[in-house]
Amino acid sequence: MLKIKDLHANVEDKEILKGINLEVKAGEVHAIMGPNGSGKSTLASVIAGNENFEVTKGSIELSGEDLEDVSPEERAHKGVFLSFQYPVEIPGVSVTNFMKTAINESRKAKGLEDMPAKDMLKLIREKSELLEIDRKFLSRSLNEGFSGGEKKRNEIFQMAMLEPKVAILDETDSGLDIDALRIVASGVNKLKSKDNAVILITHYQRLLEYIVPDYVHVLHNGKIVKSGGKELALELEEKGYDWLKQETAV
């Protein structure tokens, strides 16, 4: 579904991604771990098409289509979703209005009519229940004054509303309390299917106990230096990253 080949990307002439290879098939869950500053969020941004990063080499394919000339909004229409590590605030725009706009823009891109208000309400009700979100919350300005955990839960609510093909969750677990983590994780599990894929960026094994990955990758200094099954996460939890850093330095 998502095929990344020898991906190199710069920001302000500094190379951050130095040759990433990754294939994510439909129905799979991949976890990406790695030390701070190793390039995890950068990879997520580049997949989503953030133009602050310049792709200097390599390619990203979604369902066989090269994304090179595809704008961020078109990638979203094609099913790429990014749960941001740091969601931004948009004052005065309610969560509901934002979602309505997002859904209708995607529909418009597909030549569909706006979603009827009735269906929209039903969808909102269904998804807010799934993530145990108080409906009052949805009339508040997007992320404005939200607590760290509320922001993350709201990201997953948006994911639930948009039903993406490939969802990248960038440290969605950080900031969530224990109950919220369980709710969000079970939400993600319910949204998972054989037709979509999830990439989890995380520092902690705990999330992976709830959403069990098929593969775990370690990103270090812009490269995937190790891949393995879910046991790799446990090993990292125990040993840290130093042994890997040494291994790759050799």
Binding site: A48, L82, F84, I90, G92, A102, S106, D114
Partner: protein, 481 residues
């Protein structure tokens, strides 16, 4: 929201000023220039009584001695007042006409503007008095209003039919010699609207006027007078669009509101005069004097959305004369390309326990300059006066400017005055966040701007709010890149 995405999409596809067409209607136009004879001729043309002619002449006398104000933070080529024609009327206009008799070309024009009279008729809840090239061409819903004793007509008609009211109130809030443009308007005003709500009456519908400049080189000098008698209520809507022109057009209106004891007036404006093209050529000069007088327990709210004009100079104000009276000012001013706006308000607290609220939202894009200038004045007798002001600016790009000039004059120690100001920029991260959710950049900006302006948009009557949202989007088109 009531607008459909389809409508919005259509609007967004229009890159150039969409109302930039010119309808060719035979006009009866006076020769250029201004002198006493022209003033008398205007008055005569309109069949005015002598007192009105004299009043105009008095204003003209003041005007000759005045100089144009210089202090606003705007720069423009001064209009040549002798190169303007001071009267122009669509020839076929006839006050006795019904809507069905209206010049089909006019109707066509309204259609292009999206305000076809046919549609307006169906709107049922909106009475429309259309001021077109200075003369009212059609008035609707007069009967319903008349049943309640409400008078809603052109000012010319009011001068003839209700001279006692006009004589008593015209110039009572904005005197002839108030300022340069008010004096000019008083001398040569061509037409405008008049509204009177009797004691204790709640006006059952939104009163609405559409203004439009049509003749090349014709200055527009509208005069509006709204009187809300004791304990009455009225909501008045004013909307403007203008066709594109190469030469600058002058618009100098005067609006006077009188809210007697316990009365409430809501005055909403969506202003969309031609702002000039991308190079800053053409566009309307808009110098407007708007002021309200509030008697005891009265309340006046000014709400305005300003997207147009090359140069705007406008300060809707409230004189809070009566005890416990309330003045409110809610404003969104958008400037793009080379537009300049110097707007704001004056709240003059005279009575005890008077309250005022000012919410100003300035949005600047392109190379435009957007200034807010507000005066809060508390007189020595205004015990317990309170003001809250909030001025927020949103910048798009690095070439535009936002300026805030709050002036506070408090002569009573018990006054409580609060002022808050913020300046923000639309962030790339906000845009990318929207993009990532499938919202393109143009739409993202519209969304962010609408969010920024929400507090003010919420104050507008529903049908106006929709129009205002669309206008915000149109006026900021192409402002990123």
């Amino acid at each position: 929201m009531a607008y459909t995405e389809e409508e919005l999409k259509k609007e967004l596809e229009t890159k150039e000023y969409e109302y930039g067409f010119y309808t060719d209607i035979e006009s009866e136009t006076f020769p250029n220039g201004l002198n006493e004879e022209i003033v008398i001729a205007i008055s005569k043309k309109k069949g005015e009584p002598e007192w009105m002619t004299l009043w105009r002449l008095e204003a003209f006398k003041y005007w000759k001695e005045m100089v144009e104000p210089e202090w606003a933070n705007v720069h423009y080529e001064k209009p040549d007042f002798q190169a303007i024609s001071y009267y122009s009327a669509p020839k076929k206009a006839d006050p006795n006409k019904t809507l069905d008799d209206v010049d089909p070309e006019l109707l066509e024009m309204y259609k292009k503007l999206g305000i076809s009279v046919d549609e307006q008729k169906k709107l049922q809840n909106v009475a429309v008095d259309i001021v077109m090239d200075s003369v009212s061409v059609a008035t609707t819903f007069k009967k319903t209003l008349a049943e309640k004793g409400i008078i809603f007509c052109s000012i010319s008609e009011a001068i003839k039919e209700h001279p006692e009211l006009v004589k008593k109130y015209i110039g009572s809030v904005v005197p002839q010699r108030d300022n340069f443009y008010a004096a000019l308007n008083s001398a040569v005003f061509s037409d405008g609207s008049f509204c009177y709500i009797p004691k204790g009456v709640r006006c059952p519908m939104e009163l609405s006027t559409y203004f439009r400049i049509n003749q090349a080189g014709t200055g527009q000098f509208e005069r509006t007078l709204v009187i809300a008698d004791e304990d009455s209520y009225v909501s008045y809507l004013e909307g403007c669009t203008a066709p594109s022109r190469d030469e600058n057009q002058l618009h100098a209106a005067v609006v006077e509101l009188i809210a007697l004891d316990g009365a409430e007036i809501k005055y909403s404006t969506v202003q969309n005069w031609f702002p000039g093209n991308k190079e800053g050529k053409g566009g309307v000069y808009n110098f407007v004097t708007k002021r309200a007088l509030c008697e005891k327990n009265a309340k006046v709210s000014w709400t305005q959305v300003e997207t147009g004009s090359a140069v705007t100079w406008k300060y809707p104000s409230c004189i809070l004369k009566g005890d416990n009276s309330i003045g409110e000012f809610y404003s969104i001013a958008v400037t793009n390309n080379y537009q300049q706006a110097d707007t704001g308000t004056k709240m003059v607290h005279i009575g005890k326990n008077t309250k005022s609220t000012i919410i100003s939202k300035g949005i600047s894009a392109g190379k435009s300059q957007n200034s807010y200038r507000g005066l809060v004045q508390v007189n020595s007798r205004a015990e317990g006066a309170r003001n809250f002001s909030q001025c927020d600016s949103l910048l798009m790009g690095n070439e535009c400017g936002a300026h805030t000039f709050p002036y506070i004059e408090a002569k009573n120690k018990s006054a409580m005055i609060e002022h808050e100001a913020t300046t923000s920029k639309i962030g790339e991260d906000q845009i990318f966040y929207c993009n990532q959710r499938g919202i393109d950049t143009e739409k993202a900006i519209a969304l962010i701007v609408n969010g920024f302006s929400k507090e003010v948009l919420n104050k507008l009557p529903m049908e106006f709010a929709v129009e205002a949202q669309k206008l915000l989007e149109i006026s900021l088109e192409g402002s990123v890149g």
